[in-house]
């Protein structure tokens, strides 16, 4: 029986792994948002009763989106190896994990966004149409602005989900907190590292969730208005 890892070492493990996790999750969230929001907008515009209804386009987009969502992340991780190599010039390490994370999250974000945008009441959208606003303006000033609080919450949900998926990053040497808990903690029977990581993950996800909830509330103009 060896002695427990000193707390100072545990701390430096955690700091490094947290950096890796935040890097992987942060960049893939940005990418997933950049592509997922337009995807969601496109899905909603082409939907029945949307601003540009187009059943054919909508069905094809919807099929691809749901196919992407149904793919287990671990499969994406290995299936996308060659694509990843093409994009980031390597197939292992934190950077390489970003590609499958982002690809997996785009359809996830797309559906969330579409559902949220479809909640904007049709009368409100039509009122904007009657002002002669262009479709782009309506998307920006009405669909997205009216649902901004819900959209921010959806990005928060995405971040938490991606933290979960990033735990599998160890498979291709991506590191991060999940990998730390599994490789250094679980597989080496190092309870101190395992439980510290688990506790820190709980704190981290709670903090992130809290941050997004705050941001969503701040963007909700209905709450803090002067009468």
């Amino acid at each position: 029986m060896r002695s427990a890892t000193p707390w100072s070492d545990v701390l430096s493990y955690l700091v490094e792994a947290t950096g890796e996790t935040l890097y992987m999750v942060g960049v893939s969230t940005v990418i997933a948002t950049a592509f997922g929001v337009p995807l969601g907008v496109w899905l909603q515009l082409t939907a029945k009763g949307g601003l540009r209804p187009n059943p054919a386009v909508h069905r094809v987009l919807g099929f691809i989106t749901d196919l992407g969502r149904s793919m287990p992340f671990i499969v994406l991780l290995v299936a996308l190896t060659s694509v990843t190599r093409l994009i980031v010039g390597g197939s292992i390490g934190s950077t390489a994990v970003i590609v499958p994370l982002a690809v997996g999250a785009i359809p996830f974000v797309g559906r969330l966004v579409q559902n949220i945008l479809s909640e904007v009441h049709v009368t409100v959208v039509e009122a904007a149409v009657t002002t002669g606003a262009s479709t782009l303006r309506i998307v920006r000033s009405v669909l997205i602005r009216e649902s901004l609080p819900a959209l921010i919450n959806a990005i928060g949900v995405t971040v938490i989900a991606l933290i979960g998926y990033s735990a599998m990053a160890g498979v291709i040497g991506g590191g991060g907190l999940g990998d730390l808990a599994i490789r250094e903690g679980y597989q080496r029977f190092n309870d101190r590292i395992l439980w510290s990581t688990v506790a820190w993950l709980a704190v981290l996800t709670t903090l992130i969730q809290l941050g997004f909830t705050r941001a969503a509330r701040a963007s909700d103009r209905r709450r803090h208005a002067s009468v």
Binding site: T123, V124, T130, T131, S134, R222, V227
Partner: protein, 332 residues
């Protein structure tokens, strides 16, 4: 000026509009009334360019707007202010921000936009609510902001679909006042859809009655009320036969509609005086259509020249609708 010609529109086999023809003169208010499902909203949505009719034409100031696309369509939409049925304000924008939306669509620069928004807030009497969000406004205030938004880009035409249907009578008054001011102060041509004859009574110059996608009655309110057979007179004028009367105590009994201050005030006493007949009001009453007093009375007349008196009333502009007790003393 709006002209609707032979408009048809169907939804999956349901004929919502079956050849609707009507017009609204520049600077007047037309009320479109009719039972639920008659096609009122479909008509309004076609004129608002939210729905494309199957056939027929809609002209706004002479131009057919039914076949427009792209930027021409958006430009035409700016010429037509719309107050949609139901809550339509952006909840994440202030009252002022909502009114500014059409000005943003039209590319009006910031400073001009702000001064125009100020004018409109003043027009609808909500200057003190500029910074309030829709959730902080009452239903009537929200509708007034919706009217202000519809008027922001200086449209020549204003459409309102059931603007008062969710409001109590008092708030309804404030919204109708705003529509009336739009016509009076901005010269806008107004088409208002409603199932509330009170709206017609208060602000409409003309009325069109829609039933099953057809116009079954269309004309000036003040003309239609003089026609006993019209639906409009039945709906707007006081009932005459609330109290059964003893017809045998009169030589003649007749219903008469009088329109305007002069007719209501002077016609009956003058007839009585000229022909030396005793003239009693035995039923009916007085109402007001817009600013105009209108009366429907049931008259009981006694005297030899009762028929001449009724004839004279009719020639002097009163509408003698029916003689219940005719020259032979028989109920007609």
């Amino acid at each position: 000026m709006i002209t609707v010609e032979n408009l048809t529109k169907s939804f999956q086999g349901v004929n919502a509009l079956n050849g609707v023809t009507l017009d609204v003169e520049a600077g007047t208010v037309l009320g479109v009334v009719g039972p639920s499902g008659a096609g009122k909203s479909t008509l309004a949505r076609c004129v608002a360019l939210l729905e494309r009719p199957d056939s027929g034409a809609i002209r706004v100031d002479g131009t057919d707007i039914t076949a427009l696309d792209g930027s021409a369509l958006r430009a035409a939409r700016r010429q037509i202010g719309v107050v949609p049925q139901g809550d339509s304000l952006l909840r994440q924008r202030t009252a002022a921000g909502n009114i500014a939306l059409p000005l943003e669509s039209a590319g009006v620069p910031g400073p001009q936009r702000r001064s125009r928004v100020g004018e409109l807030l003043d027009l609808v009497g909500l200057t003190d609510k500029a910074g309030a969000y829709p959730d902080q406004l009452s239903g009537g205030q929200r509708q007034r902001i919706a009217v202000a938004r519809a008027l922001a880009a200086n449209p020549s035409v204003l459409l309102a679909d059931e603007p008062t249907s969710a409001l109590d009578p008092e708030t309804t008054g404030s919204v109708l006042t705003v529509l009336d001011r739009a016509r009076a102060e901005l010269g806008v041509t107004v088409l208002v859809v409603t199932h509330d004859m009170g709206v017609v009574r208060k602000i409409c110059d003309d009325v069109a009655v829609l039933e099953q996608g057809r116009v079954v009655e269309h004309g000036k309110v003040l003309d239609l009320v003089s026609d006993a057979a019209s639906r409009t007179s039945g709906a707007l004028l006081p009932a005459v036969d609330l109290n059964p009367i003893n017809e045998s105590s009169y030589d003649r009994v007749a219903d008469v509609v009088l329109v305007g201050f002069a007719a209501v005030g002077a016609l009956l006493p003058e007839a009585s005086h000229r022909f030396g007949v005793e003239l009693n009001i035995v039923g009916g009453g007085l109402t007001r259509l817009g600013e105009t007093p209108v009366a429907r009375f049931r008259l009981g007349l006694n005297g030899e020249r009762s028929d001449s008196a009724l004839e004279w009333i009719s020639e002097a502009g009163g509408a003698v609708q029916r003689s219940l007790k005719g020259p032979q003393g028989v109920a007609a």
